[in-house]
């Protein structure tokens, strides 16, 4: 016989109430845990994605949409600009690097992005197998793309028009020349190729085979990722870009903060809901323990007669609350992590966010002691009642 065994016997005796309390705790923990998990990963993801990109230049429109489409690879870009229009930025003394991105097609739901080999260096992408692209229609697959499609260097594929689905550009097949190492960023889900590849695929049929400088001058890009040479650029460059009628400059750090504040409001609301559920669960544990005290008045008195001290009975009560809560805590954590992982595996939209259930948010670790403290708080009131009650009189009453 142990205290745990005694408590488990009592919990089994009232299996319905026990399951209800465990479910309430689990639900509250699952909601709060999911929020912490998603919030922390979104923040990490945002920080990773914008690292090394100080400014994004694109066609006039929403700066947030520009960042979402060009940096996070989530939203649809709203237009293109001619490369010639942003040429002044590529040679500007305040710019350390300016990398163009051209989008418009996908292969199996993965975006095909035309860019320059310097993109690999700027985004910290290394090649795991094969090499970087050198000629048009050569492609490097992000690690997730390679994993999902099974394509290896030497294999070929065709892109489809648009960023999801669309008609196939069967006359312009790509050849895989390299596979990238995982980076934990949106780049893992990209198919990288040269700008010329994208331009060639989308060139009018009559000029489809055109090459050389003409293609460069007329070619369109979706965005230009800029890294500043000096902090002074942060003051001058956005103003310079926004002064042009066709261009807009978006600062990733600002837009990401704006995005997180928008998403954060929703997350905060859900966190409040989860916290309210946890308080409700604590109240339910309190009611269950108070009822248990009434139901077990005779048992508790008997244990006193058998020699149990008040301290032992109070420890048993607290342990019962902790067992209930710990079970809910474990179930809640499992529910949160497994459902997030399942969601990201089943829904392409969720997969694109790069969220994972197989990780632990730093704040989640604090959730366990907080919930257990809540349980002890809930058990405190019945424990005080137990301490003050005259159990011997209860026994005398029979």
């Amino acid at each position: 016989m142990t205290l745990t065994r005694l408590c488990l016997a009592y919990l089994r005796l009232r299996v319905g109430t026990t399951l209800l309390n465990v479910s309430l705790v689990a639900l509250g923990v699952a909601i709060v845990s999911s929020i912490l998990l998603v919030g922390s990963q979104l923040r990490d993801r945002a920080e990773r994605e914008i690292r090394g990109v100080d400014l994004v230049v694109g066609a006039k429109g929403s700066p947030l949409q520009l960042i979402l489409s060009a940096v996070f690879q989530l939203d649809i870009p709203f237009g293109n600009v001619r490369l010639a229009e942003v040429a002044f930025l590529r040679t500007h003394p305040l710019v350390a690097s300016a990398i163009p991105l051209a989008m418009g097609d996908n292969a199996g739901g993965f975006r095909i992005v035309g860019t320059e080999p310097q993109f690999l260096h700027e985004r910290g992408i290394s090649i795991a197998a094969g090499r970087a692209w050198q000629a048009p229609m050569e492609a490097v697959l992000g690690s997730e793309v390679a994993g999902a499609t099974g394509l290896r260097p030497g294999a070929s594929f065709v892109g489809s028009h648009g960023l999801v689905g669309g008609f196939a550009h069967a006359e312009h097949p790509y050849i895989v020349v390299g596979i990238a190492n995982p980076t934990g960023t949106a780049a893992d889900r990209l198919i990288l190729t040269s700008l010329e590849s994208v331009w060639r695929v989308h060139a009018p049929r009559s000029t489809g085979s055109s090459t050389g400088s003409h293609e460069h001058e007329d070619g369109e890009i979706t965005a230009l990722l800029i890294r500043y040479r000096t902090p002074l650029a942060a003051v001058q460059l956005p103003r310079l870009v926004n002064a042009r009628p066709m261009l807009i400059a978006a600062v990733p750090a600002v837009e990401a903060a704006r995005l997180l504040s928008i998403v954060g409001f929703g997350l905060e609301s859900l966190r409040l809901l989860g916290s309210a559920l946890l308080v409700l669960a604590a109240l339910s544990v309190l009611v269950a323990l108070t009822n248990a005290l009434s139901d077990r008045r005779a048992d508790l008195a008997l244990m006193r007669v058998l020699g149990a001290t008040r301290g032992l009975l109070i420890r048993a009560l607290l342990l019962e609350a902790l067992l209930l809560t710990a079970a809910g805590l474990v179930l809640g954590f499992l529910l949160a992590h497994l459902s997030l992982e399942l969601l990201t595996r089943l829904l392409p939209e969720a997969r694109a966010t790069g969220l994972s259930g197989f990780t632990v948010a730093p704040d989640e670790i604090m959730l366990a002691p907080a919930v257990l403290l809540l349980a002890i708080g809930a058990a405190a009131i019945p424990a005080v009642r137990l301490y003050r009650s005259n159990l011997v009189e209860t026994l005398a009453r029979g």
């Binding site: 244990m303 020699g307 008040r310």
Partner: protein, 232 residues
């Protein structure tokens, strides 16, 4: 100023051939609602002795057993059990002494419904921090004829069976004193006789003193001595 505590261990010789009592009550006074319930100048129970406490309902039999078990205190006087004066012990120590040295068979059984028969016996050892081998517990169940019911839940037992389990549980920690409060009140003649025989036999085997509070005159011949409370 309270009288000095007298530490007398059961079995120790006080003077000449005297054996120190398991229970020593001196100057005990207890009133409830201005009515004097207990008034005993001196009362003793010796090892292996069988004493019956008689009296009509409301005469204070149960209260007297509770005082002997340290479950409640009297207005005056002292109670010494197994050499320990109960009034001088802190509550927690008194609880442990009761659990380890006194077995209690209660009027209304009070088995723990959440536990099996065997776990009810284990509980008696656990609450006082003792480790008792299952063989000992199964031996006790054998002695009350319920070994085969060891795994049964207590709500599956008849009243008589539950009373036997309560007797077995009272003996788990090898007490020097067993207190039984109306153990046969709800039983017919045959079952009452069986339970009484069982109490007498099991306490005799363990050398424990037995104090039974009852108003059941059928039990009277089985005891060495009697204490009358209230009018006869």
């Amino acid at each position: 100023m309270p009288p000095p505590s007298v530490l007398l261990r059961a079995g120790s010789v006080v003077s000449g051939m005297d054996v120190s009592p398991v229970v020593l009550v001196e100057g005990l006074r207890l009133s409830v609602a201005s009515r004097v319930l207990l008034d005993l100048d001196r009362w003793e129970v010796h090892p292996a002795e069988r004493v019956v406490v008689l009296g009509p309902s409301g005469s204070g039999k149960t209260t007297f057993l509770h005082v002997l078990a340290g479950l409640r205190s009297a207005d005056a006087g002292r109670v010494v059990v197994d050499g320990e004066e109960l009034g001088r012990l802190a509550e927690a120590r008194r609880d442990v002494l009761r659990g380890r040295r006194i077995g209690f068979v209660h009027q209304t059984l009070h088995l723990v419904a959440a536990l099996s028969v065997l776990d009810n016996l284990r509980l008696a050892a656990f609450v006082v921090g003792k480790r008792v081998a299952d063989e000992h517990l199964l031996g006790l169940l054998t002695s009350v004829g319920l070994r085969e019911r060891a795994r049964a839940r207590t709500f599956e037992l008849s009243h008589g069976e539950a009373q036997r389990v309560a007797i077995a549980r009272a003996l788990v920690n090898d007490p020097c004193l067993v207190l039984a409060d109306e153990p046969t009140s709800a039983l017919d003649d045959r079952n009452a006789r069986q339970i009484l025989d069982l109490l007498l036999a099991t306490t005799a085997t363990q050398g424990a003193a037995l104090v039974v509070a009852t108003h059941d005159m059928r039990l009277l011949p089985a005891f060495d001595r009697r204490l009358q409370l209230g009018r006869e």
